[in-house]
């Protein structure tokens, strides 16, 4: 579904990703782990098409298309979803209104009928239950005045409503207390199907207690330096990232972080 080859990208002339290779197939869950500054969030933003990031080399194919040629909105309409590390506030626009606009633009582009208000509300109510949010939530302005946990749950609500083919979760677990983490993780886990794929970008292993990944990749200094199964995450948890640094450092000297 997603094939990343030798991807180089940066921001403001500074190279952050230095040759990423990654294959993601339908039905798979990949965890991308790594210490702060390793390029995890950059990878997520580049895949979603954030205008501040420039791709300098490499290619990304998604469902047979060149993903990098698509505008952010066309990527979304093609089924790429990013759960933001820092969800953005949109004053004056209710979550319901925002999501209705989103789903209907996506549906229109995919040649489906728009949902009317009644169908949409029914869908939204069903998904609200998944993230254990009450209905007052959807009439509040998007993320405005939300707690950190509410913002993350709102991302998962959107994920559930939009049902993307490829979901990228950027540090969705960070800053969550244990209850919120459980709700978010169960929400995500419930959305796994054989047809979609997920990339979980995370610093900590704890999210992976709830969602078992098929593959774990360690990102370091802009490259994937180690890949393995779910046991790699546990190893990282036990040994810390220094172990990786030492292992990689032994092979080649590190550039500036």
């Amino acid at each position: 579904m997603l094939s990343i080859r030798s991807l180089h990208a940066g921001v403001e002339g500074r190279e952050i990703l230095r040759g990423i290779d990654l294959e993601v197939k339908a039905g798979e869950v990949h965890a991308v782990m790594g210490p702060n500054g390793s390029g995890k969030s950059t990878l997520a933003q580049v895949l979603a098409g954030h205008p501040a990031y420039a791709v300098t080399a490499g290619e990304v194919r998604y469902d047979g298309q060149n993903l990098l040629e698509l505008s952010p909105e066309d990527r979304a309409r093609a089924g790429v979803f990013l759960a933001f590390q820092y969800p953005v506030e949109i004053p004056g626009v209710s979550t319901a209104q925002f999501l209705k606009a989103a789903i209907n633009e996506i549906r229109t582009r995919q040649g489906q009928e728009e949902l009317d208000a009644i169908e949409f509300l029914a869908l939204l109510r069903e998904k609200l239950a998944l993230v254990e949010m009450d209905q007052s939530f959807i009439s509040r302005a998007v993320n405005e005045g939300f707690s950190g946990g509410e913002k993350k749950r709102n991302e998962i609500l959107q994920l559930a409503v939009l049902k993307p083919k490829l979901a990228i979760l950027d540090e969705t677990d960070s800053g969550l207390d244990i209850d919120a983490l459980r709700i978010v993780a169960h929400g995500v886990d419930a959305l796994r199907t054989p047809d979609n794929a997920m990339i979980l970008v995370t610093h900590y292993q704890r999210l992976l207690n709830y969602i078992t990944p098929d593959y774990v990749h360690v990102l370091f200094n802009g490259r994937i330096v180690k890949s393995g199964g779910k046991e790699l995450a546990l190893e990282l948890e036990a040994k810390g990232y220094d172990w990786i640094k030492d292992e990689v450092g032994a092979v080649e000297p590190l550039g500036a972080a």
């Binding site: 909105e73 979803f81 925002f98």
Partner: protein
């Protein structure tokens, strides 16, 4: 240019839909302004003596001002000097006789209004809205007149009111905005040609929205209309005004006056959707909208609300105000003012607290895009007798792009220590992150901008009658199309 600016620019380019010209023969007088022109206008309208006298007093006052300080210069707007002698002060579509019924109205006029979404014919009329349609200098038709008359409500063109209800006109004309009020109000008093008049009798709740639609058609003419609404004791009326004009390279002057009078326990809601031609993307052409609107809460517990959505005009200069004379009276001002391309708006309100326990609310939302320049200018004045007067003001500005401007100029004068006056202001920009967030959810930049702008204005829109709130929201999207960066 940032991506935000580019997307906003893309979101902002559509043709002005109402820019067509109706090809109709006009009965226009020669351009120019002098006492003879005033006499000519008055005689064309077959006015009683008191009207002519009033016009002449206004004209003489205006001449003094014109020779003195001239136009007001304090507003944050610039324009080349206006040549008042080159304006045509009277232009009416030619009709053999005054139409007695719709069948006698020139079909071209009916088509024009139909094209503007204001069908006047019996079968197609907007339900629940009575319309007075004003084309250049004259009113062409007023719908539902008979039905309203059954309740004792007078709703007709100003000219008709002068003929049929001269006592009411003489009593209330200039009682809120005297002809000496300001440069443009004096000019209007001298040369105004038509407008709407409305009287709601004691205790009557007007069962439908009353509405006036103003259309400028003729080139080289100005539009000077005058609206007077009197709500007698315990009555209620909701009023809506709309306006459009053809696209022309020249600037056209629109200097209107609106006076509202609310007697004891009466309530008037007045809403404006102003969509005069705004000029092109380089700032050529467009209407100079220099308007004086004021309401007077004469009686106790009376209430006047102004709601305005200002998206058109090259320059907007207007301050719908309320004089809170009766004790416990209430004044409200809700405003959305949008400037794009090279539009300029200097708009706001005045709340003059005279009576005890008077309350006022001001909510102003300014949106600036392109090279637009938007100023909120408002006065809250509490006089010595206004015990426990209260005001709450909130002014929010939204900037789209980095070449536009937003300014807030509040004046607060309080002469009673028991009064409470609150002022809050904010300025925000649509950020790159907000746009990216929307796009990542599949929402196009155009829809994202329009959704954010509408969200910003929602507290004002909810004061509009339902069907017009939808219209206003659409209009905002259209007005944003075309020239930001």
């Amino acid at each position: 240019m940032s991506t935000t600016a580019k997307t906003v620019e893309a979101a902002v380019n559509r043709e002005y839909e109402w820019g067509f010209v109706t090809d109709i023969e006009a009965d226009a007088i020669a351009p120019g302004l002098n006492e003879d022109i005033i006499r000519l206008i008055s005689s064309k309208k077959n006015e009683p003596e008191f009207m002519l006298e009033w016009r002449l007093r206004a004209y003489r006052h205006w001449v003094k001002m014109d020779k003195g300080a001239g136009e007001p210069r304090w507003a944050n707007v610039t324009h080349p000097p206006i040549d008042y002698q080159s304006i045509v002060y009277y232009s009416a579509p030619k009709q053999n006789t005054a139409p007695g019924s719709l069948e006698e109205v020139d079909p071209k006029l009916l088509q024009t209004f139909e094209k503007l979404g204001i069908p006047l014919g019996e079968q197609k009329r907007l339900t629940g809205v009575a319309v007075d349609a004003v084309f250049d200098s004259v009113s062409v038709a007023t719908t539902f007149k008979g039905k309203l008359a059954e309740l004792g409500i007078i709703f007709c063109s100003f000219s008709e009111a002068v003929q049929n209800h001269p006592d009411l006109i003489e009593k209330y004309l200039g009682s809120v905005v005297p002809y000496t009020d300001n440069f443009f109000a004096s000019l209007n008093s001298a040369v105004f040609t038509d407008g709407s008049f409305c009287y709601i009798p004691k205790g009557v709740r007007c069962p439908m929205e009353l509405s006036t639609y103003f259309r400028i058609n003729a080139a080289g003419s100005g539009q000077f209309e005058r609206t007077l609404i009197v709500a007698d004791e315990g009555s209620y009326v909701s009023y809506l005004e709309g306006c459009t004009a053809p696209m022309r390279d020249e600037n056209q002057l629109h200097a209107a006056v609106v006076e509202l009078v609310a007697l004891e326990n009466a309530q008037i809601k007045y809403a404006t959707i102003q969509n005069w031609y705004a000029g092109d993307q380089e700032g050529r052409g467009g209407i100079y909208n220099f308007v004086t609107k004021r309401g007077k809460c004469v009686g106790r517990r009376s209430k006047i609300s102004w709601t305005q959505v200002e998206t058109g005009s090259a320059i907007t200069w207007k301050y719908p105000s309320v004089i809170l004379q009766g004790d416990d009276s209430v004044g409200e001002f809700y405003s959305v003012a949008l400037v794009n391309n090279y539009q300029q708006a200097d708009t706001g309100t005045k709340m003059i607290h005279i009576g005890k326990n008077t309350r006022s609310t001001i909510l102003s939302k300014g949106i600036s895009a392109g090279h637009g320049n938007n100023t909120y200018r408002g006065l809250v004045k509490v006089l010595p007798r206004a015990e426990h007067a209260r005001n709450r003001t909130q002014c929010d500005s939204l900037l789209l792009g980095d070449r536009c401007g937003a300014h807030t100029t509040p004046y607060i004068e309080v002469a009673n220590p028991t009064a409470s006056v609150e002022h809050e202001a904010s300025t925000a920009k649509i950020s790159e992150d907000q746009l990216f967030y929307c796009k990542q959810r599949g929402i196009s930049a155009e829809n994202a901008v329009s959704m954010i702008v509408n969200g910003f204005c929602k507290d004002v829109f909810k004061n509009l009658p339902m069907e017009f709130a939808v219209e206003a929201s659409k209009l905002l999207g259209v007005s944003l199309e075309g020239g930001v960066g």
